[in-house]
Amino acid sequence: MSISKALEHLGAEVAVTADGDVIKGSDGAVLPGVGAFYDAMRQIEHLRDIIGGLEDRPLLGICLGLQLLFTESEEGGRNPGLDVIRGRVVRFGGDVKVPHMGWNSVHIRRDTPLFKGIRDGSYFYFVHSYYAIPEEDVTAATTPYGVEFPSVVVKDNVFATQFHPEKSGAAGLQLLRNYLDVVVNSKSI
């Protein structure tokens, strides 16, 4: 998986796991995700309490991993998510090609440690057909694609990107490096 390669490239020690005890023993977690919402939820259902209650341990959701954090998604009917962030996930409509695939600009709406050294309007790589509509104030960056959708959300120690930082070249690596700094800093507190 690309995200583990990128994190290892940045010097992190990575375990790919679905084991709750391993996650509890980690300094920080990443929730990636490809495929369909419902299938992914089924696979992480047993981790619901751990992911929902990571407390001080940072979590980074990526792509579908961002969407899974929300209350529900309309992908494949109407499916409940982890409900860490209140809101729902809907499909792109209108004139745009779906999936939204390629490099698009990310506009910073609120400063977070993830954006250290990243210029406003930087390009990141996206592949997705659905986007989140938060019902609480979590949007840290937005991206235009027919609508202006949240491309980065942050709530306490939970961070999530709709794009793939592990596929976004130098800007993506910088964002992951920033996340690892968050992990290291939260550990020392």
Partner: protein
């Protein structure tokens, strides 16, 4: 906004880049990893490896270079060439590719696309289509007017050597229905000419499918990239020799496009 992508293509045989590659600042111009790293630094938006190895051992060696590339170049990587089964797809994706390109085997058995999309996700499956103009009036083909006359587009397989009689536009509609996530469209007429992309053909595919289309074949000048983005709805343009022979760097092409009003990533 969503930018147009510029994609260098590397022909890889037995783990080595073939076709001329002329870079003074590379220690080893034949190493796909080193060339990928350079293109990444120059601003490539994605990379495509076309594996033209003739033997199973050659494919294995190429896969090793995919793994090494994926460990240090963090932009999307598509690997195609010689993919015959979902097991081949799995190997390529496991090695570190983000997308897998299928061509001949999918034409012979379209279920490969359906099954691949189901197992690995639509976003992983790139349908590579090699097509050539046929100047012949047919009422059972998708006909297009061109400056040289009316024509339809025929699917070629086995690296562009074998005509199939299939209507390429109809084939593109079918791969979309079956779950392909993207079309890599190579013009057999334009490929190698450096006379520019096949505009009429690219436009037809962009109109007749809603999938992202990567235009390929014929890039020789920076104006050709502008033309294909201005004249068609394509999402990306792919080229090989124009980059390998260092006629233009990726930055030069992207600066030119940006100055001409095309949105590209900096």
């Amino acid at each position: 906004m969503l930018t147009k992508r510029i994609i260098p293509c590397l022909d890889v045989r037995d783990g080595r880049v073939v076709k001329g590659v002329h870079f003074e600042n590379l220690r080893d111009a034949g190493d796909p990893v080193e060339l990928s790293r350079l293109y990444n630094e120059q601003g490539a938006d994605e990379l495509v490896f076309l594996d033209i190895s003739a033997s199973p051992r050659g494919h294995e060696t190429t896969l090793e270079t995919v793994t090494r590339t994926a460990q240090e170049v963090f932009i999307p990587l598509t690997v195609g060439g010689g993919i015959r089964s979902t097991e081949d797809m799995r190997k390529v994706l496991k090695a570190g590719a983000d997308k897998v390109g299928v061509n001949t085997a999918a034409v012979k058995d379209p279920e490969l696309i359906t099954e691949g999309a189901r197992r690995f996700g639509t976003q992983c499956i790139v349908s590579a289509i090699d097509a050539k103009r046929v100047y012949e009036e047919r009422d059972d083909r998708y006909m297009v007017d061109t400056p040289r006359g009316r024509c339809w587009f025929e699917v070629y397989i086995y690296g562009g050597r074998t005509p199939t009689g299939l209507d390429a536009v109809e084939w593109a509609r079918e791969v979309e229905r079956r779950g392909a996530g993207e079309i890599l469209l190579t013009s057999m007429d334009a490929d190698g000419t450096k006379d520019g992309f096949d505009i009429e053909m690219t436009r037809a595919f962009c109109t007749e499918t809603s999938l992202p289309v990567i235009a390929s074949g014929g890039a020789g000048k920076k104006e050709h990239f502008l033309e294909v983005f201005r004249e068609t709805g394509c999402d990306a343009a792919l080229a090989a020799s124009v980059f390998h022979y260092r006629e233009y760097t990726l930055q030069e092409i992207k600066s030119y496009l940006r100055e001409s009003g095309v949105a590209v990533r900096d």
